[in-house]
């Protein structure tokens, strides 16, 4: 009965159920991180490197900003019927010095969030088809007691 869990985007994140990571690259020349992966040329104008390491990005960060989607987006978004609003979070990764967007996990509302809050990356269903559950990365608030995984 159970559907197979597959990534909604191939090669964008690890399929680790417990501690997933976004998959990025890092320039061997200047250390700049890339998400999505960049493997051809570095975008830093002071760097001509064309060599990159494959890296897993930090899976925790702090809220930069947040919003929600009250209306159903157009295709290629695949909406449940009826449409269920969801929350969107921009999270700052300290080591990589970059901000990454994503949906918040189901049940997290705009009123649950504040700038600076600690968040962690998890996998959750983006949509389902007949055979598969299509997973994506989402942001989930970390417990404030510091008891994070």
């Amino acid at each position: 009965m159970n559907k197979t869990q597959v990534p909604a985007l191939e090669g964008w994140f690890t399929m680790d159920a417990e501690k997933p990571h976004l998959l990025g690259t890092q320039c061997k020349g200047c250390g700049t991180y890339y998400f999505p992966r960049q493997t051809v040329f570095c975008k830093n104008p002071a760097c001509e490197s064309e060599a990159f390491d494959e890296v897993q990005l930090s899976r925790t960060g702090k809220v930069w900003s947040f919003t929600n989607a009250c209306y159903q987006p157009p295709e290629p978004f695949v909406a449940p019927d009826p449409f269920v609003p969801y929350t969107i979070v921009a999270v700052e990764l300290e080591k990589e010095k970059m901000i990454v967007l994503g949906q918040a996990v189901e049940g997290v509302e705009v009123s649950d969030l504040k700038a600076g809050m600690d968040m962690e990356l998890v996998l959750e269903t983006l949509f389902e088809d007949d055979e598969n559950e299509k997973l994506t990365w989402k942001w989930k608030p970390l417990p404030t007691d510091g008891g994070a995984a």
Partner: protein, 393 residues
């Protein structure tokens, strides 16, 4: 040698949803600008069209399309694409041609017919396209505007009431503008009663998409003097700079900022007017009036700060004090802005220049900013495009 050029004529087709071909609007605006300049179409030596690109939409042949519609007369043509800054880039192309002595008088023109509903990507499975990916993940254009707006609330303490004040102000400004699409004096209660789209932004905080067209006749200062228009409003600066790596905020349609691991992050929006001020030799304190790209009410306040009309974080204070209303210290969007127009991408940057021209000539009627001497525009669009133009008397 002066780097200025003269604006001899301006013209627009009213913004709306008219259901016609974009060429019709463009010809209307072009002819209005030619009449306003007091020249003949046959005097135009260069047609600089602003284009848009939308799934095979034919706007990308803008220059030639308008030149043919107005009647081939042997002028040279050019087409510029720079998303929301297409009009400014078309103006920059005309300025280069004029200042290099290759032509005396040029028509700069942009027109758009927008599709109904959400702007959306081309169909198919295209995971290599960041625009496709973000829509698959449910991140639309208002998502980005709302993230910027919420950031203001979190960092500066702005409120949704502050955002509503921008809408109320712009609605008052555009109320008597014959080219505006929405002519109704909306109240803060109207804004608060409109549907939430992307928290904290409601339907009335976010600009619509419209049909519309705007055109300019520009010339060398010598040509302006020769036809008795030596006092014409001048273009004193055009900035169309790219961003500088690394981006400090998430730009549409990206899912992440650049990493600022190797170099410090910078704001693209803030960099746009810097070059314009330098080129014009004008400081922010000299500005009498501004037309900025209010894709959302909150974004207008970001622009106040990016244009250095107030210190960072004090945009809401400016609105609360009424400083950006007509009659205030530094009126912003006297035309009514995108709030009253809706966005017609390749025409919008030129519409901003049309409004400032009327303001500097003292021809803006009931929305006239008293004693306007220097005006600045600002806009930003996709793919690292943006512009800022300074006009002076």
């Amino acid at each position: 040698m002066s780097g200025d050029i003269a604006i001899l004529g301006v013209g627009m087709h009213p913004w709306g949803k008219w259901g016609k071909n974009f060429v019709e609007y463009g010809v209307h605006a072009g002819r209005a600008a030619i009449r306003d300049a007091g020249i003949s179409w046959k005097d135009v030596q260069f047609v600089s069209g602003a284009a848009t690109m939308r799934c095979g939409y034919p706007g990308y042949v803008a220059g030639a399309t308008f030149a043919q519609a107005l009647g081939w007369q042997g002028a040279e043509v050019n087409t510029s694409y720079a998303a929301c800054a297409s009009g400014s880039q078309a103006l920059a192309a005309a300025r280069t041609k004029i200042l290099s002595g290759q032509c005396d008088v040029a028509l700069v023109i942009g027109s758009d017919t927008t599709p109904k509903g959400f702007l959306k990507p081309a169909p198919g499975e295209r995971p290599e396209d960041p625009d496709w990916v973000r829509f698959r993940l449910g991140i639309t254009n208002p998502s980005y505007f709302a993230l910027y707006a919420r950031r203001r609330m979190e960092i500066y303490g702005d409120t949704q009431d502050d955002f509503a004040l921008v809408k109320v102000k712009n609605a008052e400004h555009g109320f008597t503008n014959p080219n505006a699409r929405y002519k109704k004096k909306f109240t803060a209660e109207d804004v608060a009663a409109s549907a939430m789209v992307a928290d904290p932004l409601r339907l009335m905080d976010i600009c619509a998409t419209s049909d519309g067209a705007a055109a300019l006749i520009v010339s060398s200062l010598d040509y302006a003097k020769k036809i008795g228009r030596g006092d014409a409003v001048r273009v004193a600066a055009i900035s169309t700079v790219t961003p500088t790596f690394a981006s400090s905020i998430i730009e549409m349609p990206d899912l992440a900022t650049d990493s600022a691991f190797a170099v410090e992050a910078q704001s693209f929006r803030a960099s746009l007017p810097v070059k314009a001020y330098e080129e014009a030799g004008i400081s922010p304190a000299d500005v009498s009036v501004a037309e900025v790209y209010d894709l959302s009410t909150a974004l207008e306040m970001d622009w106040y700060e990016d244009l250095q009309l107030c210190p960072r974080g004090e945009g809401a204070k400016l609105v609360r004090e009424g400083a950006t209303r007509i009659g205030g210290r530094i009126p912003v969007n006297p035309s009514g802005g995108l709030a009253c127009f809706g966005e017609a991408v390749p025409a919008q940057a030129l519409a901003q220049v049309c409004e400032l021209t009327w303001q500097l000539r003292g021809q803006a009627g009931e929305r006239q900013v008293e004693n306007a001497k220097v005006g600045i525009t600002a806009n930003q669009g996709l793919f690292g495009h943006g512009s800022s133009v300074i006009l002076k008397k």
